[in-house]
Subunit: 277 residues, 2 copies
Amino acid sequence: MIKKQLIMEKALELFAKQGFATTTVQQITDYCGISKGAFYLSFKSKDELILALIDHFMIQITSNIDYIVNNIDDDAELLYTFYYAMFESFHKHSDFAKLFIKEQSHTFNEEFIVKMQYYDKLSERMFLSLIERLYGETVNRIKYDLIYCIKGFMNTYSSLFLFYNVPLDLKVLAQSLVEKTNLLARQMTVPFISPELWQLMEQPLLGEVTKEQLRNFIDQKVDELEESVEKESLLLLKEQLIASTYPQAVVRGLLENVRNHPECKWISYLLRRYYQF
Amino acid sequence: MIKKQLIMEKALELFAKQGFATTTVQQITDYCGISKGAFYLSFKSKDELILALIDHFMIQITSNIDYIVNNIDDDAELLYTFYYAMFESFHKHSDFAKLFIKEQSHTFNEEFIVKMQYYDKLSERMFLSLIERLYGETVNRIKYDLIYCIKGFMNTYSSLFLFYNVPLDLKVLAQSLVEKTNLLARQMTVPFISPELWQLMEQPLLGEVTKEQLRNFIDQKVDELEESVEKESLLLLKEQLIASTYPQAVVRGLLENVRNHPECKWISYLLRRYYQF
DNA sequence: TTGACAAATGACTCGTTGGTCATTATTATA
DNA sequence: TATAATAATGACCAACGAGTCATTTGTCAA
């Protein structure tokens, strides 16, 4: 388990620097100070490694942002905090962000493409719910364009500080993007992306998670965990899924217990969405 | 010469579909109906091929846009026409656009990176001169942010129609982006990219072409060309570089002769910049 | 100390692919 | 037609790198 983490860390460094295809398994294992065979004890293949990396960090980032956004009551702060948290994440995990941007369009591995599309749609959804909450009905006609503008901002501004070594003033960046977004949201009148166009692009729909899937996820995680508050909380949350016995406050508390454990972020995110907290 | 073109066309198709790394030389030659050896009569390596493709199309697109923008007098139309021409180019050369987006970050080949940075800076320059012409002094503090917004728009909106098979209404798209750009240009007050930050990122400066370089370019092109008006015009333009004997009108005329020949677009673009037409 | 089990090693296999070159086909010239 | 020059071919080579597996090393309970 520790070995796996070591490989992921070291590999990420190399991938960010050289790209996935040009980094050999040998390089990774040399850099880790382990043998090539040891690599294949932790990962079935080189592809599985990058898939694991993507999941690991996207889960971390997505669920973190989602939590932050859902715990801000004041709409005036919302957008600012969102941008701030987003770029803070990219900055903190800059190696991952580089990898993610560089490898955005690996055409070969089917599973990889599906995964990327999944997270792309996921973030679009996040943007959309943010927009709807902030501007409500008034932006109905232009909301899909807003999503794309936000995506554009994220893209260009993040590659700016990722690939040039420039100092990064997160506060100004967030402020600046808040202003841009507000200007567009409040005054744009000519949308390009109509609801129909949007639907055309929604083809590979983002499925909802079922109760059974959630239970499986929890079972899996529980096996990997040591005895701890997190593990106990997860087990209780599983009980709750089967037969809801606890009041909402308890469920929220249990989720809070679990939220900060890096291994549980994804599950806690899914559960929060499931319970619509 | 014809063979080279055939290879470029067919290879572009395959690259757009499968990516550069996963397309083998064998696949390319099979698709062209020629032998593997024949490939290496036209290109020294597989890398040289992609470099040639990038140059070929970027020159085409860049010089075309530049020409259009420089031949519009009415500022009211300018931005619209710019966006329209830009996306029309991407649409027309969609295979190239796909390749370009997909391979934006090949870390391995040094020459490739330099080339991409060069064209990136080139387009930034184009955006900047457009912005300065349209909005003048008033946008001085926010002009670099405007560049990045435009880059962001180009990026997200083009991948939208490149990778999803959706119908494309160029007019609405251009209109929509014009509105967005105008809104931002006229009301943005919080820039993120300060002049100093901009300078930090300008490190690999875009060199000016010298008279000698231009003469070399022309000599090279002249050798490749059949007897034609274009060839004669180029020779005269070379004379003019050495000892300027003709009035401006003549030079302009000569450039006009050369402009539409696909092989001469780049030179005509460089000359126009040199003479500041 | 021993022996059973698990973890780790790295030499090796094997498929792939960019690039070469001796040979053959084609065209131009005398 | 003969000869030279040029174009084209595809079998072959060498390098590389993902993944395997027989063997060694380490661990721990009896």
